[in-house]
Symmetry: C2
Subunit: 325 residues, 2 copies
Amino acid sequence: MTAPASQFEAYGPVADDLPRVDELLDSLRDVEFPWLREMLGAVLGGGGKRLRPALTLLAGRLGRYDLDLLVPMAASVELLHTATLVHDDVIDQAEERRGRPTAAAQFNNGPSVMLGDYMFAHAAHFVAQTGNLRVVRNFAETLRVMARGELSQDLAAYEYSPDVRRYLDRIHGKTASLFATAAEGGAIVCGAPEPLVEPVRRFGEQLGMAFQVVDDVLDFSATAEELGKPVGSDLLAGTLTLPALLYLDRYPDDNPIRRAFSGVRRRANLQRAINEIRESGLLEESLETAQRFAEQAAVALEPLPGGEPRETFESLTEYVLTRRN
Amino acid sequence: MTAPASQFEAYGPVADDLPRVDELLDSLRDVEFPWLREMLGAVLGGGGKRLRPALTLLAGRLGRYDLDLLVPMAASVELLHTATLVHDDVIDQAEERRGRPTAAAQFNNGPSVMLGDYMFAHAAHFVAQTGNLRVVRNFAETLRVMARGELSQDLAAYEYSPDVRRYLDRIHGKTASLFATAAEGGAIVCGAPEPLVEPVRRFGEQLGMAFQVVDDVLDFSATAEELGKPVGSDLLAGTLTLPALLYLDRYPDDNPIRRAFSGVRRRANLQRAINEIRESGLLEESLETAQRFAEQAAVALEPLPGGEPRETFESLTEYVLTRRN
């Protein structure tokens, strides 16, 4: 693998336009409640990679690049993503995200539920602002897929199911479906040629799969500082991601995860599993899965003409595979 | 006042079509998680008045009455309403609603947040199904207004502000805005004549204001059995509704509510205030406010031709004013 690309290089020509998405997101803070302004600053302020908005803007370059349509579309996608994180943190009772206390930990459940609802409402508002019924329909469908993903994610916690297929379904619902909508939405609102819309949607979807697998590997391989949360936090919260599933597959009969899930010395057994996973080759094996999704993403791009934006999509894929946080 | 009308009489010609809305709502229960089916049954099953869907269907009679468009529109409005209640119950940590434990009390916060999100997602899906960008935009705007209403509702709890204007703003955001969208949406999707759209929206809005004031009076005047929750539960939860505000206005210098809000023998003082409000003429005075909104609703109907649906709108108003639960 090459050295990690910076996100700004990877975003190519749209990097300079992303601040317009941030400006629109900032407009949500124009609200009479100081505590809400503070919460919005905490969850929407710096630290986010804005990868989904970058995807939307890049896809727009396949048609008539119109920021008046792309910026609300991109803001809508980012809000849907962030609102989901905020509600997930209430559901999981998570303490930290991106190195800061979560809204749920900092502000309690009630305000976090309201914060998420407020962001969902604005997401719906921004997508309606595109004036494009097709993207509105996609948005609503993605919302349904993500709500189902949220459900099965929670259901999967502490359920001993060493089933990679179900894991892939889960990350599809949780991440890839929104990446797909982000990319497709940008293409549609800018009137990209119809034969390119499905390829770019497919590219977003496969990139989202790769992104989430890498995310799940980083949860084991990165340092707590890079992660902004404890190493192995998914497993500690009872969620089995790809590295843990491969570990279960390697030691099917008796292993610390199985013992922890059946209630035996939970924390100690999970910590032992985290250490063993970090020292095994299972993280590299998981990254090979991410690599395969990245290859599918590249295949999806084949109908696109050469040059930019295709090259930027390729550099985005490289960034997703090599990022460290 | 006349004897309470039954809701079925009041809904006139659309009463027979409301089961189609219930059927569509039931389709949400086609989900692989038994606990979610159970929760959906608990919050969407019988007991609801389906007043908002009735309003949508009735407004559709001003145009080409098309149930294929009206049923998703009506289901969308009912889901938005119910999802908001479910999240409100998490926010308020409410124990009972409609005589049953709330989802939040029965299933804990996490599943209730997911249940609400699942219903919001389907609400967005159903409104997109109408294929009408104008109602989609209204829906998104209503979502924003309601999210703000949710915020100011929570903010108002235990904030001593004897301000009727703020109360009216709050119930506008919480209830009247969705009644307005329910009515307007029905008219728009059925292509009602344009000069009737704004009047029917205004009718819905004023009916919603009357409905909420009556609701807030019933919280004091009805029995715990009729309410399905303790008498005076709003005040006990720290929310000042119209009867309590009038009471504060009557006894501005020293009163049990003010003492309770400053932390003195909270429960006993609130209970005393509830008893005094029940025995005062303040409930009748509050109902006069509801009556005034009903009159505004009637004024809004003036541009409508005579006959049905105008007469049904009038009987609906009568039902809203005279209902006992």
